[in-house]
């Protein structure tokens, strides 16, 4: 078979999309999760219920939203309400998956999207939590999507914006976060990671085509756990790429 060429973004979108189950609720943030949800609805999850923080529930994602409140987030949707309704729905336990991004992630899946450097005098001021903290606090299982390098996969975050497992086992519950919630997967351009049930530390589950385990370790500042048997993920298929390029993102915003 001919080798398909694809970009790192396209790979992330396809991997994230395959994690979206049909008939599940997924809290969708700006960017890659939007494309992934759209792709999932076309490929395997027609009854995926995308939930957008400013009120869109159950949209059919025919055109790529550019903002989490734009009209495409409630295109042919089942409901258009408001942010309090959506966040309270998450707080009541209705939302299974939450998709997140960030500038930094640590071994417990905590995320920083607030600043680089000291928050009182930042080197770089980032956009802030937005709904990120709420998604990480209130959804059952969160999935982070980000590029993979040592500046992003760090031992210590400059700022803990969004809760993962905080300081380890039991820490979320001790802080008062809802029982049984927390990080589930981290999707990167090198592979897919999960979390060890006992230590709550990040664990490499599978690598992407052409990526070695050593490469993942080298690009991670903290010590990574490894699954007993590491599989290699399937890269984007011809059908996925065609849908992405021709239907979902014809303007190539995420190429």
């Amino acid at each position: 078979m001919k080798e398909l060429e694809y970009t790192a973004s396209e790979l992330l979108i396809c991997l994230a999309s395959r994690l979206m189950d049909d008939r599940s609720t997924a809290f969708i943030g700006t960017g890659i999760p939007m494309l992934a949800a759209s792709l999932a609805q076309t490929m395997h999850a027609p009854d995926l219920v995308p939930v957008f923080e400013f009120g869109g529930t159950g949209a059919i994602l025919e055109k790529l939203p550019l903002a989490v409140g734009d009209m495409r987030t409630y295109n042919k949707a089942v409901a258009a309400s408001g942010i309090c309704d959506i966040m309270e729905t998450a707080q009541r336990g209705f939302i299974e998956y939450g998709f997140l991004g960030g500038a930094q992630i640590d071994q417990f899946g905590n995320l920083n999207s607030t600043c680089i450097g000291d928050v009182m005098n930042p080197v770089v001021r980032l956009p802030g939590s937005g709904g990120g903290n709420d998604v990480g606090s209130l959804c059952w299982r969160t999935i982070s999507i980000m590029p993979h390098d040592r500046r992003r996969f760090v031992k210590k975050l400059d700022f803990l914006t969004t809760p993962g497992f905080l300081t380890g086992p039991g820490a979320r519950e001790a802080a008062g976060l809802p029982r049984g919630t927390g990080p589930y997967r981290v999707v990167t351009h090198l592979g897919i990671l999960g979390f060890d049930d006992d230590t709550r530390r990040m664990k490499l589950l599978s690598v992407n085509p052409g990526v070695t385990v050593e490469e993942v370790i080298e690009n991670t500042e903290f010590e990574l756990l490894l699954a007993d048997s590491l599989e290699t993920n399937t890269g984007p298929t011809e059908k996925e790429l065609r849908l992405l390029r021709e239907v979902i993102d014809p303007d190539g915003l995420y190429r």
């Binding site: 930042p122 770089v124 001021r125 956009p127 802030g128 700022f159 802080a175 976060l177």
Partner: protein
């Protein structure tokens, strides 16, 4: 905020300052004095700002930046020269314009960025250089629930978000153990705005407003504002409002001014009416990357315009019409 005697111990206190401490009884008294007379509140944007906005006010905008946002009113506010605002920072384009022109002193921050297009360079310059004096962190739900608390007329709401993070550490929230269940709760203080700005699809001259599509946090913010300036795409007859009273998102007695701003959310989008002006918005993003060109943008598109009508003339009818959903082939709705 001074800590009153309590039998419930505080388990944690955020170190951020409470930029706008709530006084619910004063809010009740304020609301009692607001008129319920059905009077014509239509006026120009500039008049609304002259009458109802003061230097140093705590202000907020809804929905945000490029989505059903009172950008026309934001331009009028910037042109008015009023300053030293404290803002609820859930923003994009409107926050950028206030930051470029150095009108913001303090921010209750949740998100100021460009979503698909990344960070806001205006926020970066303002916060990294320290022209914004005080930044307190929250999340989107936290800010919305703070409006909801004010809308409910209670001083705080207990919630299960932001616990355990630096976000709560840099906020002004407090944590207690629930007296009923023992669960730890983040208490979010009510946020009462001096002035709220909301853009709607249609309103009558008294201020009864209808919103199409998602309501964002309009319901809560309208009720959490001491003064409320509404801009609207369309002014309709009161009979049209009374024909469908279930559609009234904001009743007139909350509203102080009704400003007729067709394309009032431009270059952002308006639910059911027009799409975002992507070319213009990208041009703004490009120009805001450097202080010089950011100011040039403001000169061209804000200070150089006498009012909203002048702006619409500058954009041009053809351009505006091309953004209407019925014109956009296969529009979102």
């Amino acid at each position: 905020m001074n800590q009153k005697a309590t039998n419930i111990p505080l388990l944690f206190e955020g170190e951020g300052s409470l930029i706008q401490p709530p006084d619910l009884d004063a809010f009740r008294e304020w609301n009692r004095r607001k008129t319920t007379a059905l009077v014509d509140k239509t006026m120009r944007g500039r008049e609304a700002i002259d009458r109802f906005v003061s230097d140093g006010d705590y202000i907020g905008f809804e929905l945000y930046g490029t989505v059903r946002c009172p950008i026309g009113l934001t331009r009028a506010l910037v042109r008015s020269g009023k300053r030293d605002f404290r803002i609820a920072g859930q923003g994009v384009h409107e926050a950028d314009m206030l930051l470029i022109t150095d009108r913001v002193k303090e921010i209750d921050f949740t998100y100021i960025g460009q979503e698909v297009y990344g960070v806001s360079s205006s926020v970066r310059r303002a916060v990294e250089s320290g022209t914004v004096k005080n930044v307190v962190e929250w999340s989107n739900a936290a800010l919305s629930w703070r409006f909801k608390a004010a809308a409910m007329g209670v001083p705080f709401l207990p919630t299960r978000s932001i616990l355990g993070t630096d976000t709560i550490r840099r906020s002004a929230a407090k944590v207690i153990e629930c007296p009923f269940t023992g669960v730890k709760l983040a208490l979010l203080p009510a946020l009462i705005l001096d002035v709220g700005f909301i853009h709607v699809n249609r309103a009558d001259r008294f201020g009864n407003c209808q919103i199409d599509g998602i309501s964002g946090f309009a319901i809560e913010m309208a009720r959490a504002s001491k003064r409320l300036i509404v801009s609207t795409e369309e002014i309709v007859e009161p009979e049209e409002i009374r024909r469908q009273p279930d559609r009234t998102a904001i009743p007139y007695y909350l509203v102080d001014a009704v400003v007729h701003h067709p394309f009032g959310s431009w270059p952002g989008e308006m639910s059911g009416m027009y799409e975002r002006d992507e070319d213009h918005y990208r041009m703004f993003l490009e120009m805001q990357n450097a202080e010089g060109t950011a100011n040039e943008y403001m000169d061209d598109w804000v200070f150089g315009m006498a009012d909203h009508d002048a702006l619409l003339t500058k954009i041009g009818k053809e351009r505006l019409e091309s953004l209407r959903l019925e014109t956009v082939e296969g529009g979102a709705r």
